[in-house]
């Protein structure tokens, strides 16, 4: 009767999208990501005015841009996290094809902005760094290939993905961008490791990386200078590293105070590669530890959730995304504390940079999509090992 009077209520098949998203999403990781983005804005307020002043712009010009790109990134992240894994895979592979072509065309159409490496497409109002967008797509494609190799009559996915990795590393090294190439190699290695790599092979690959690094060291002056700077026992205080180290020391435990920092005036990359130094100087060790804790939470939590994952593709893709994300953060901070040689790498979500932010949003959105709670055959887990079938 009621239906006859008021019309039929729409029938929904299954659970509505938003409640299910909210129920299954990893809320902790998402909160951490939002917090990191907030911290990024806060530090941008401190770190970018000197750059804006140098370029003759409104003091908070870069903060506004960061907010715009960050907002975009957050929206992208949320949308990506709402997708089914199969949809994510489909879009990511399509995206990979596009970005791969873009990467391949960089030497012809790209620009180096006078920094000695051709990594960007200039669009006038903004620039795009294809390698940032390539990474999530690459991880998904490689994971797909590897997972399908386990299927009956599947393709030889591991070899194919490795070949793909080598091609991409080749393109990245041409730019040159050894940091990103290492990151891509590392991402593939992690996925291969989780997919069940023989231990002996892993050792061989580690050896190859060392040899490759040595070749790069002797072959590229750009690379050799940075390694030399790292290996010399004294840090020359007039280098970026020297300023960064000193800034961390100046900051101490509680920092010198908001806006009181000096390092941002001396470091050309204070708003990107060395944002952690700005954080350490103005807000002290506490802020740094909070940032580290946020990254660690995201990575470790994602990995723990992926441990329960039954689908090999999701497991591998999630692993690759989480590890790349964490490693990038680790490299950035490791450089600032001189645990690693100087390598231009942004701190995801905290550093300024449109490409990095939006690509990071995509990657993390995918990661969240992969780590969503879904039925994992818990019952069969319970019976596992009890001689079923």
């Amino acid at each position: 009767m009621t239906e006859m009077v008021y019309g039929t209520a729409p029938v929904s098949h299954g659970e509505p999208i938003l409640p299910r998203w909210w129920r299954t999403i990893d809320k902790w990781s998402m909160s951490c990501i939002l917090l990191l983005f907030g911290i990024g804005l806060l530090l941008g307020l401190a770190a970018s005015p000197p750059l804006a002043a140098r370029n003759g712009l409104d003091p908070f010009h870069y903060v506004q841009r960061q907010m715009f790109f960050g907002g975009t990134a957050m929206i992208v992240m949320v949308f990506a996290s709402m997708m089914r894994p199969s949809l994510v895979r489909r879009l990511a592979v399509l995206g990979f094809v596009v970005t791969f072509v873009a990467l391949a065309l960089l030497p012809i159409l790209g620009t180096d902005f006078g920094k000695g490496a051709v990594r960007w497409y200039s669009l006038g109002f903004a620039s795009i760094q294809p390698s940032e967008f390539l990474k999530p797509g690459f991880v998904v494609l490689a994971a797909w290939l590897m997972a399908s190799s386990a299927d009956a009559a599947g393709p030889p996915g591991k070899s194919l993905s490795f070949a793909l990795t080598l091609v991409i590393v080749g393109f990245l090294a041409m730019q040159p961008d050894f940091g990103q190439s290492l990151l891509v190699l590392f991402g593939w290695g992690v996925m291969y490791f989780v997919a069940g790599a023989p231990i002996t092979l892993l050792v061989c690959i580690a050896g190859l990386v060392v040899v490759g690094g040595f070749v790069a060291y002797s072959g590229s002056e750009h690379f050799a200078r940075r390694i030399d700077g790292f290996l010399s026992p004294d840090v020359d205080p007039t280098t970026q590293l020297g300023y960064a180290t000193n800034a961390i020391r100046e900051g101490g435990f509680l920092g010198v105070g908001v806006g009181e920092g000096q390092v941002k005036w001396s470091l050309p990359d204070a708003h990107t590669d060395f944002i952690i130094a700005v954080a350490a100087e103005e807000y002290g060790l506490i802020m740094v530890l909070v940032i580290i804790a946020l990254y660690a939470t995201i990575v470790v939590r994602s990995l723990m959730r992926l441990m329960r994952e039954r689908d090999p593709f999701i497991r591998l893709a999630g692993t690759g995304l989480a590890c790349m994300f964490g490693t990038q953060a680790m490299i950035n901070m490791g450089v600032a504390v001189r645990l690693l040689p100087a390598k231009g790498m942004t701190l995801p979500f905290v550093s300024y940079g449109g490409s990095s932010l939006v690509a990071g949003g995509i990657a993390v959105g995918m990661l969240l999509a992969f780590t969503r709670t879904r039925p994992q055959g818990e019952m069969s887990d319970i019976f596992r090992g009890r001689g079923r079938g």
């Binding site: 386990a150 020297g242 000193n246 002290g284 530890l289 990575v299 039954r310 497991r315």
Partner: protein, 593 residues
């Protein structure tokens, strides 16, 4: 390994019998296998993911810990990377024998410019010219507006100048700290100290290096960080040095000399108590070497150490002492002094004719060239050369100054018999006043060789014996007689029993031969003669005493009165009490006057 077939024969046969499709059995088996493999992989992945999680956690912890360590460490002032050999400032002071400062360091600043930071280069140049009138306007403007990124403007600034530059207020003008060498006594001991200048220069420090004198001779020593700032103690006595300079300067002026030198040496320790060379200079602003003319006329030329002169009759005592030592004669032996004495085509004459013969003592007292030449003939050239060699006249002195090796004596190319005769009275062999001081000290201190030194000594040198005590005493008696009744009668200083020998040598012309009206007049003295403590050598270059009708140039009229005044003033400073001479001989001499 037991292989499980995908199509187990028993089941296939049974299925065939029951009419089922046997392929489904194979598919079922494939599925089961794949599931089992997936389960295995999953378990492995689970473990490996756990490992990764732990690894990431550890890595983040390490970074956090490292951040904590860095944050806990002290922030350092940004400094330039320390190179392997950093510029070490901190040169040790130089003090005299009583610890009075001769050379020390002063903190000051240098001024340099970074033209690219300059707001108003032309205005800066104008302001700078007001402070430093010696700068060149055109050149500065060129430097400041050109491509140079860095230039020194002034190496040392006074505080007033620094403040004035500071008040210009241009960001392109910068100060660098400097440690500069300061000689608070100005010209005193200028030749001994030498001077210092900057070696390697950086913005934040500069190396101070010695350029001459003891500063250079002890350069490494003074800069040695292991010294820990301990000063270098010289043998000089600042008050004696000051008095000697004052009197020598006055004497040089009165006697119209163009240069002068004086050496005061302790006869037992070889310590140089004072050493003056005039004209002198201010080591705070050391002049450059002359670019033309005779270097020996430059104020930086040390006449006492570097200048070698024919020191004339002062050498006679060596000849006589050697003859005494060899037992060829005694002080009373008569010597033929008939002047002139012909030797081949040479003629040796005395200042005036002293009669046919004189005793050995009177040869010295009256300064007879002929008598000395005859004694030298008895000694012979070989033995004379050996003896002078023992006294150090054939080698440069070994005093601790960088200039010492340049004071190399000029010897005759061939030590012929005529050379032997002229050298016996101080011609034909050129040596420095310091050589003469060493010779006198060694001969008169009792007969042991001393080495000259500028470093404070703790006790007497016990060098090799040159002559016997007796010969030494006889030589001193003769020298005393020269003062009491001979050519150096102006040299008597009451209470100090001065003994000495005058020497007036015609200056050699650069092209050979001797000037008639240019002499080097020298007085070599020892006091007190009966108990020798000090030797004083005083040399005047081209003196003329013009109070009489004819200009007088002999040492007795020029060098001796100056030396006497010097002894009168410095002997008390060195702690010598005036004393009555022992023996009635002095009384007798006094009665004669």
């Amino acid at each position: 390994m037991i292989r499980t077939p995908l199509r187990p024969l028993a089941r296939i046969l049974r299925a065939r019998q029951s009419g089922e499709n046997p392929d489904s059995i194979e598919q079922e088996n494939v599925r089961v296998r794949a599931e089992a493999a997936a389960a295995r992989t999953r378990a492995q992945s689970e473990r490996r993911l756990f490992v990764m999680g732990v690894a990431f956690f550890c890595a983040f912890s390490v970074i956090g810990a490292r951040m904590g360590l860095l944050a806990a460490s002290e922030a350092a002032e940004p400094q330039a990377r320390s190179t392997a050999n950093a510029i070490l400032a901190g040169r040790a002071d130089i003090v005299d024998r009583h610890g009075r400062v001769l050379a020390t360091n002063l903190q000051t600043h240098s001024l340099y410019a970074q033209p690219q930071n300059m707001v108003d280069p032309e205005g800066v140049v104008d302001e700078l010219l007001k402070i430093f009138p010696d700068l060149e306007r055109e050149r500065l403007i060129k430097d400041f507006t050109g491509k140079r990124k860095f230039l020194w403007i002034k190496k040392k600034l006074s505080p007033e100048q620094m403040q004035a530059v500071h008040d210009i207020g241009d960001p392109g003008l910068l100060f660098g700290p400097r440690e500069m060498r300061l000689y608070p006594n100005g010209k005193l001991a200028a030749h001994i100290l030498g001077g210092a200048s900057f070696g390697r220069e950086g913005v934040h420090a500069a190396e101070v290096i010695g350029v001459a004198g003891v500063e250079k001779a002890f350069d490494a020593d003074l800069r040695d960080p292991a010294r820990n700032g301990a000063p270098l103690e010289l043998s000089l006595d600042l008050t004696v040095q000051s008095t000697m300079r004052e009197i020598l300067y006055g004497g040089m002026t009165i006697m119209n000399a163009k240069g002068a030198a004086a050496v005061m040496m302790d006869v037992h320790t070889g310590e140089l108590i004072g050493m003056v060379s005039l004209p002198d200079f201010d080591p705070n602003d050391r002049p450059r070497p002359l670019t033309e003319g005779d270097q020996s006329d430059s104020p930086i030329f040390n006449r006492a150490v570097q200048g070698v002169y024919e020191l004339g009759s002062t050498f006679k005592i060596f000849t006589v002492a050697q003859a005494l030592e060899l037992g060829l004669l005694n002080p009373e032996t008569s010597i033929n002094t008939k002047s002139p004495m012909a030797w081949g085509r040479f003629k040796i004459r005395d200042f005036s004719n002293y009669g046919p013969e004189l005793s050995v003592t009177d040869v010295i007292v009256k300064s007879s060239n002929v008598g000395t030449a005859r004694i030298a003939q008895q000694i012979g050239g070989k033995r004379q050369r050996e003896f002078l060699g023992e006294l150090g006249f054939l080698e440069p002195t070994s005093v601790e100054m960088i200039e010492a090796p340049t004071g190399r004596p000029l010897l005759p190319p061939k030590w012929s018999e005529i050379s032997t005769m002229t050298i016996s009275y101080g011609h034909g062999l050129s040596s420095s006043p310091l050589h003469l001081a060493v010779g006198y000290a060694s001969l008169l201190n009792g007969g042991t060789r001393v080495t000259p030194t500028l470093l404070k000594q703790t006790g007497p040198q016990n060098g090799p014996r040159i002559v016997s005590e007796r010969t030494s005493a006889q030589a001193r008696e003769m020298l005393r007689a020269v003062v009491t009744r001979g050519t150096a009668s102006f040299g008597d200083v009451e209470g100090y029993a001065v003994g000495g020998k005058t020497g007036t040598a015609d200056k050699p012309k650069p092209r050979g031969g001797y000037y008639k009206d240019k002499v080097i007049s020298t007085f070599a003295s020892v006091f007190p003669a009966h108990d020798p403590k000090y030797v004083l050598i005083l040399t005047l270059d081209e003196p003329e005493e013009r109070s009489g009708q004819k200009p007088r140039r002999t040492a007795g009229w020029t060098a001796v009165p100056v030396a006497a005044e010097m002894i009168r003033r410095t002997a008390p400073l060195m702690g010598l009490r005036p004393a009555v001479e022992p023996g009635a001989k002095a009384e007798l001499v006094k009665a004669k006057h």
